[in-house]
């Protein structure tokens, strides 16, 4: 009996895991799920003057849905909720300083702007408020490195493969008077080959400050060329760091990258290197060698 129960439990766990994995893999098309909260779930030492916020993955419609904040005793904490449609962020500002202890925040599900989006998923986070307020702005050494590649992934809206430039940005050190896992990172594109007459840096979005000092940014492949990024960090009060003056830049190239055996025509950094053709010749040479060796082996009797 006990054995049977454990089998059922194991099966249920596997099914739940598969369902969860499926949910993660099949990203919804235009559905405004909560994809980021500040402070993050299980955060500790949250400052008493924190502004709580949740970012929605797609543009959403806000119809005064409440943000439910309760303390450890189940008492409601009064907050004023405002939705910023420009950055798809719902902010909840507590009416008075938060009291030290556990806090549970329920972020509402919002309806998507596009017809296909439907209603997104809300989120419930649990955090521990500390005893100190956040006073000083964070410091940040800016982005420190950049690399790029091309990705080709199936788009859930278009149901076809879409090309994107993937930029891997190295994030420098950040510090604050409280823990750095409470900081958010705002990324900007400061040079865009598809908008050469860009008036100012364009905001690409907000992320949690990465623990591994690396983040990926996906951009369209419509135009290739010089591309630059910069970033700043913000604390839960809205204080902004420096570091945004440091740009990282790289030059992208439109796919396909290998344009044939261009031994004599390509200029430095401007065309395909002959590495592809060299590799092909190597491979062909090895095949010939292999065949030659096999050809010299004596035939075995059947």
């Amino acid at each position: 009996m006990k054995n049977g129960l454990s089998r059922v439990a194991a099966l249920a766990t596997i099914c739940y895991g598969v369902a969860l994995a499926g949910g993660v893999a099949a990203a919804p098309c235009g559905r405004p799920d909560v994809d980021l909260t500040f402070p993050p779930n299980q955060a500790e030492n949250v400052p008493t003057n924190a502004v709580l916020s949740a970012h929605y993955a797609a543009p959403a419609l806000y119809n005064d849905e409440p943000v439910d904040v309760t303390d450890a005793d189940g008492n409601a904490v009064a907050v004023t909720a405002t939705f910023d449609a420009a950055d798809s962020t719902l902010r909840a500002t507590p009416s008075q300083e938060l009291v030290s202890g556990h806090l549970q925040i329920v972020w509402p599900a919002l309806r998507g702007v596009s017809g296909s989006g439907g209603v997104g998923r809300g989120s419930m986070t649990s955090v521990l408020v500390g005893s100190a307020a956040d006073e000083a702005p964070p410091s940040f050494s800016g982005l420190t490195g950049i690399d790029w590649d091309l990705s080709r992934e199936r788009d859930p809206c278009l149901d076809k493969l879409e090309d994107r430039f993937v930029f891997k940005l190295q994030v420098g050190a950040a510090a604050d008077d409280l823990a750095t896992d409470l900081l958010s990172l705002t990324i900007f594109q400061t040079r865009d080959p598809s908008a050469p007459e860009q008036t100012g840096p364009s905001e690409l979005g907000v992320r949690a400050l990465p623990a591994d000092s690396s983040i990926e940014v996906r951009r369209p492949t419509t135009q290739a060329g010089d591309t630059c990024f910069a970033a700043v960090v913000q604390d839960l009060v809205g204080n902004v760091s420096g570091g945004g003056e440091r740009e990282v830049c790289i030059k992208t190239k439109k796919p396909p990258f290998f344009a044939g055996c261009a031994v004599g025509s390509a200029a430095l950094g401007a065309g395909p290197t002959p590495s592809g053709s060299v590799f092909s010749l190597w491979l062909l040479g090895l095949v010939f060698l292999r065949r030659g060796r096999l050809g010299r082996q004596p035939l075995r009797a059947v």
């Binding site: 098309c29 420009a86 998507g112 702007v113 590649d149 840096p201 030059k251 010749l281």
Partner: protein
């Protein structure tokens, strides 16, 4: 150079191992020549890919693009009448502005608070300039659909926005709505059909430049749920 030597030497090493296949030797020699030419021409070596190649790191600091250009080192001749050897000028504090400099001499560059935008979001001082106010998406609202025209059977099509909002997909043929069916049959891919699309409350690609502004990639009509502004 080491790489060139290695590649050139490989066929001979192969010979020492009694590789007697003439074809293989020929190919390997060709490879060596090509590698040598390529490396000599471009200065590129495996593991040292130049800019533009995926995987290459061409990162630069503020001085690379749009930032402060590096000051070229000039030779200083001691004793020369025109030479002035002095330390950096003392910082003269002034109110911090967004210019890529530490105006208030507090050791931080452009440490300015974010500015609220009238339509929501904030502007930040980045790379010596104030950022643009954020928009709710890059190109289009993810999953939204605009009407396009094509030259196939129905002359009516739909384009869906990608999940990351960074562009539209292909124009897929669709049946025109009843109110534009007759226009499509009579005028095919035309200004009339685009006008019918707009008049009937759709968000339509301005392929025929009906507003005469020269922009055929914009959308006209009921596009509130599709555009990013």
């Amino acid at each position: 150079m080491l790489y060139v030597m290695r590649v050139v030497a490989l066929p001979f090493a192969c010979q020492a191992k009694r590789c007697r296949s003439a074809a293989a030797m020929f190919l390997l020699s060709a490879v060596a020549c090509v590698s040598a030419v390529a490396c000599a021409r471009t200065g590129l070596y495996p593991g040292e890919l130049g800019d533009g190649e995926p995987g290459s790191a061409d990162a630069s600091g503020a001085s690379s693009m749009g930032g402060v250009a590096p000051v070229p080192s000039t030779p200083v001749t001691p004793g020369s009448p025109s030479t002035k050897v002095s330390g950096p000028a003392p910082c003269q504090p002034s109110p911090e502005t967004c210019n890529g400099r530490d105006d208030d001499c507090n050791g931080a560059v452009d440490d300015l608070p974010a500015q609220a935008c009238p339509g929501g979001g904030f502007r930040f001082c980045v790379a010596g300039r104030m950022s643009e106010c954020p928009r709710r998406c890059d190109v289009c609202v993810p999953g939204s659909v605009r009407v396009c025209e094509n030259s196939f059977c129905s002359y009516w099509g739909e384009q869906e926005c990608a999940a990351d909002g960074q562009g539209f997909g292909n124009c897929k043929e669709a049946a025109p709505p009843p109110e534009c069916d007759g226009v499509a049959k009579q005028h095919k891919n035309s200004k009339e059909l685009e006008q019918c699309c707009i008049d009937n409350g759709y968000c339509c690609l301005d392929e025929h430049d009906l507003d005469g502004d020269g922009d055929r990639a914009e959308v006209l009509g009921a596009c509130g749920d599709i555009v990013c502004q």
